[in-house]
Symmetry: C2
Subunit: 118 residues, 2 copies
């Protein structure tokens, strides 16, 4: 049975390393609150991108709701590049191309997706 | 029309002050990504509770997915009190009683709810 109230620290969650050296580089992904923790509707994940790293440049039929925890980087979109930094929130609509890139600094953010985006 | 990709900083969002001195005290709530920003499924809010402040002790038929951005505090639940601090995530299941309390320290966190919890 899942706990009705669950508290954990992101540092104790094992990361998935996303790095094929081409489409994605230097990305650690941690699922904090997912289906196995009992999330019924949406999933909270934690991402850390090392300086010089990036997520895939892609689109998918679900939205992202992001909050930047630390560092800074660039969000590449069809409309251009947007600087993102600690304390910023980002909404990426479904089907919009997007790529999160760390440059000289690393960046950490929370990214929430609907459960059907798993 | 909403922006397909929206970037903002939480400090530029006007807070709702939640403080009746009895059920809630010293709480600032900011809706970062809500219906008016185009969120189709779930809403990202930012909360700041001053030292000594607290949210209402209540329950509702939707879940919370929380990430603690800074500071520390206590989550009061029917099963007891849990300390929460920077870097922690918290899942509160639907219908579970919960109260977020700042003690000597202030606390800031992100709290995501389904859109029907607005």
């Amino acid at each position: 049975m899942n706990e009705l109230i669950l508290v954990g620290n992101h540092e104790n969650v094992n990361p998935e390393i996303i790095d094929d050296g081409k489409n994605a580089k230097g990305v650690e992904k941690r699922v904090l609150i997912g289906l196995k923790e009992g999330a019924p509707n949406y999933i909270m994940r934690h991402f850390k991108i090392k300086a010089g790293g990036f997520t895939p440049d892609h689109a998918h039929p679900w939205e992202h709701e992001v909050y930047v925890l630390s560092g800074s980087g660039i969000l590449k979109t069809p409309e251009g590049e947007k600087t993102i930094k600690t304390g910023d929130y980002v909404f990426v609509s479904a089907n919009e191309k997007h790529q999160f890139c760390a440059q000289n600094d690393s960046i950490e953010f929370i990214c929430v997706i609907p459960k059907y985006g798993q």
